[in-house]
Amino acid sequence: MGKRAQKVGRKSSRRIHQLVLIAILVAVFALAATAAVSLRAEGKQEPKPAAKTTDAHGNPGYRANALMPINAQSGQVRPLTQEEAQRLANGLKQLVDQSTDGLQQVRHADGSVSMDLQGRFQSIAVAKRDDDGTLVQSCVDNREAAAAFFEIDPQLVGVNKNASPATTANNAAVKGEDR
């Protein structure tokens, strides 16, 4: 045993004060540790991670139909009108731009070269309610993918007719349905 520890061991009255403090600390943490390092002690309700009201591991699928605009006749989420699709496309075109047209490379004194992307090459988080009310969230970085997500004509967002065809098959990348 170390010299100091022997000394401390002899000074029992001082030690009692130390032990009281230690005991408080130990009690606080041991209680927490006992109960929570390994939770599920019977009858104990421990703080848990926020209850997930959505998915546990696979899906963006959850429903909240109350505010959804629906077609009065069919009761379904209606497809976008041409005007709405065009408006959506106009907004997307500005956001999803991987063109390098007009971007300037600047050479610096140390030999490095930079390029201000002018807001291009951004990744865009998008979301929508599907026909069955499922909320789908995704991230797109090109016009074809953006058009496919919103199920609008790729040409509306400036995709050349001859470019790789964008599927309009709904959400092949989507992970989740709830029925």
């Binding site: 943490f29 848990k48 926020a50 899906n59 959506l88 951004q122 988080a125 016009r143 709830d178």
Partner: protein
């Protein structure tokens, strides 16, 4: 007086010496600044009063938005290592949307750089944040590295009305959109999880590849996107070639082994249909596990499971087979659970499997889906017992190519989320950087949960996994309790840190307290600390050392006593008692012990020697109790009695108190540094450091916070270097 001053000066210098020898970095490794670029009263400056939500303490809408941004930024700030602050220029703007669809926001690098000092490859574009980190200076002061724009109207009438942003930190977003998760995802793109080459045309940006392209590997042509021999057409083709495009970075390829797995339905019998079946997973209920849930399969009645099952007796303890359709998945699974089923297999009504969404926090069993044809196969055998297992196969990573490389999302034609800057959607469990921002994502960005940090390391980022609070907690389970964390325990301790939100002093204090809690836990006190006391009782301190046990002895013994013990789970007390008895018996039969304590000595001498070595003066009753273990014997040949007597001494309450601080300090070295106090790289290769910290702990009456002992160890370079740079 002079002596007092000198003594204080000496103590100060000593403190500095030992703190310096342990510390080389603080908790946070990078500063990410959210630059509020909104006009007065708008976006971040919106003064609309709101109630604090999910750990976000802001009381105005603008403040909550800013807090959420900073919280997301801090997750990366705690993990990345760069001396150059990263500025995110952020605004809230009206972005395109309608009632049921919306752009949530966007983010990305503000500028790109090549051929700078420190670049790992010349002629290669890097995002500004990574370029600054690699070169060590701000290449362009006064400008942001990342741009971020988010939709100010989301949740308002006519703009994604039913999925407003959730601004809490706790992922409890309900039917809303978890802003923090979206931000972490999009900021990750801005930090470097993106190519600047056009996936649509395959054309490099201005004639140069991106650092990301150096790891984009077409497993058909055998070329990376950065190779000049790869044509634009080949790049374009690989961007739309199913399972063609993989990440060949070594860190990702290595780390995915501990992250990705394959969910499976394994039919065990009858032999005719035995084997593994492809499945879809459920976004609710208990996560799949390994070795999983095994039971016989029973067809639910009604077959669609949409109402209370009428064959409850047949369902109890079984895996319920239920047809898809007519109601939601959660209704079916809940009905099966109510009938006593231990798992559910949903049979699809079309080919292929379905990923099952929905939520019900009361569902506690696991569920999978299988294809209609596989369902028919199983149903055809239900005349006799069909035994199956719902599991996750950790030996078979999902979302990888045949060479074990992580796949990027490259469907045959551009789809929603198509981007070579995302992982493939077949990855399981869901990854942060898949194209779909899935509702089950946590805020962890490092292994063993997520591959984002691994990819960042491949492209050149340096940092430390310890910055991720969930990883920090998990490592304590491994280092102190020698086991993997139970899910609820991990969540509890992680939440102790996460609930500090963006309050950095709170985070630092909680990290210290959480860390110390593992030493103070009953589970450790009854395993690791008991091993310490066995050695102390049997042998006293190691000659010339202030401690009784070395790390090489301590670790296997602690693992032995702790085997199968999870305090609070099952009959852990019985398991612990059995382990203690077995350990004590094995301990006294070791040659070191039998040499130290010949069986010819009488019981009283044996017991007195143990107490003497422990440093405890026993009461008469304590001494007599230990001696009585030998009954009327006049020698100590009875091995079981030797074990019991030794254990009585080791579990003596005086000994526990006497050695508590010393054991606490020793476990700092064993737990965090995985070495003895006098092992390299300890300066002097002696116990000066150990004695210093013991002195401080004693000086502060065992208050480890005021003594700054735990803090010194968890911020020490030696500890942190175990997990990064």
């Amino acid at each position: 007086m002079r002596n007092i001053i000198l003594a204080r000066l000496s103590l100060t210098l000593l403190t500095a010496l030992f703190v310096c020898s342990l510390s080389s970095s603080a908790f946070g490794a990078a500063t990410i600044v959210i630059q509020n670029a909104d006009a007065a009263g708008i976006g971040f400056n919106d003064t609309t009063p709101v109630a604090p939500v999910g750990g976000n303490p802001g009381t105005t809408l603008g403040q909550q938005r800013l807090n959420a941004f900073q919280f997301a930024a801090n997750i990366w700030g705690a993990t990345l290592n760069t001396t150059t602050p990263i500025t995110v220029r952020a605004t809230w703007e009206p972005l395109t949307c309608d009632a049921t669809s919306a752009v949530l926001g966007s983010a990305g690098a503000a500028s790109i750089w090549r051929d700078f000092s420190g670049a790992t490859f010349n002629g290669t574009w890097y995002s500004a944040a990574l370029a600054n980190a690699l070169t060590g200076v701000d290449l362009q002061t006064g400008t942001q590295e990342i741009n971020a724009r988010f939709n100010i109207n989301l949740g308002k009438t006519g703009c994604g009305e039913s999925f407003p942003f959730y601004l809490g930190f706790d992922t409890n977003h309900g039917s809303g959109t978890d802003l923090v998760t979206v931000l972490i995802h999009e900021l990750s793109h801005g930090l470097g999880f993106q190519t600047f080459t056009s996936a649509s045309s395959g054309t490099w940006n201005s004639g140069f590849p991106s650092i990301y392209d150096r790891f984009l590997f077409d497993n058909t042509t055998g070329k990376t996107w950065a190779q000049a021999s790869m044509t634009d057409a080949e790049r374009q083709a690989s961007a739309t070639g199913v399972n063609k495009l993989a990440w060949n970075g070594s860190r990702v390829t290595s780390d995915l082994q501990s992250i990705l797995a394959t969910p499976q339905l394994k039919v065990n019998s009858p032999a005719g249909i035995a084997g593994n079946y492809s499945v879809g997973t459920a976004g609710f209920g208990a996560p799949l596990s390994s070795p999983g849930v095994t039971a016989n399969v029973a067809q639910a009645s009604p077959a669609d499971g949409c109402s209370a099952l009428t064959n409850g007796a047949a369902m109890s303890g079984k895996i319920a087979l239920i047809d898809r359709g007519a109601c939601t998945f959660v209704v079916k699974v809940k009905n099966a659970q109510n009938a006593g089923a231990v798992g559910v297999v949903i049979v699809n009504n079309t080919s292929g499997v379905v990923q099952m969404g929905g939520s019900d926090s009361t569902i506690t069993i696991s569920a999978l889906s299988i294809s209609d044809t596989d369902g028919l196969t199983i149903k055809s055998q239900l005349g006799a017992p069909v035994n199956a297992t719902l599991l996750v196969n950790t030996a078979a990573p999902s979302g990888v190519d045949t060479s074990g490389r992580a796949l990027l999302f490259s469907p045959s034609s551009f789809q929603s989320g198509s981007s070579v800057s995302h992982w493939d959607t077949t990855a399981f469990p869901n990854q942060l950087m898949e194209p779909n921002i899935n509702g089950d994502l946590t805020h962890s960005v490092v292994p063993v949960w997520d591959l984002t940090w691994s990819l960042f390391q491949d492209i050149g980022w340096r940092g430390n996994k310890l910055g991720d609070s969930q990883f920090f907690v998990r490592q304590h389970y491994l280092d102190f309790l020698n086991r993997f964390p139970d899910a609820s325990g991990l969540a509890f301790w992680n939440n102790q840190i996460v609930e500090c939100g963006i309050d950095q002093p709170c985070i630092e204090l909680r990290q210290i307290n959480v860390s110390a809690a593992f030493f103070l836990s009953i589970e450790f006190q009854e395993t690791g600390y008991l091993v310490y006391r066995f050695y102390k009782s049997a042998y006293g301190n190691i000659p010339g050392a202030p401690v009784p046990v070395r790390f090489g002895e301590f670790l296997p013994d602690t693992q032995q006593i702790g085997q199968g013990v999870v305090v609070g789970v099952g009959n852990w007390q019985a398991q612990l008692e059995a382990n203690k008895q077995a350990f004590a018996l094995a301990f006294v039969t070791r040659s070191r012990f039998t040499n130290a304590f010949p069986t010819s000595s009488n019981p009283a001498a044996f017991v007195d020697a143990l107490f003497a070595r422990s440093g405890v003066t026993p009461s008469a009753s304590e001494r007599n109790a230990a001696i009585a273990e030998f009954g009327s014997a006049t020698n100590t040949a009875d091995t079981a009695a030797r074990a019991r007597a030794l254990r009585l001494v080791a579990e003596n309450s005086q000994l526990k108190s006497l050695e508590f601080n010393k054991a606490f300090v020793l476990m700092q070295y064993f737990g965090y540094l995985r070495r003895n106090p006098n092992d390299p790289p300890e300066p002097g290769l002696d116990f000066a450091g150990f004695n210093f910290w013991l002195g401080k702990l004693n000086q502060f009456n065992g208050n480890f916070v005021n003594a700054e002992m735990v803090k010194a160890f968890i911020v020490s370079g030696e500890f942190r270097q175990r997990f990064g740079q």
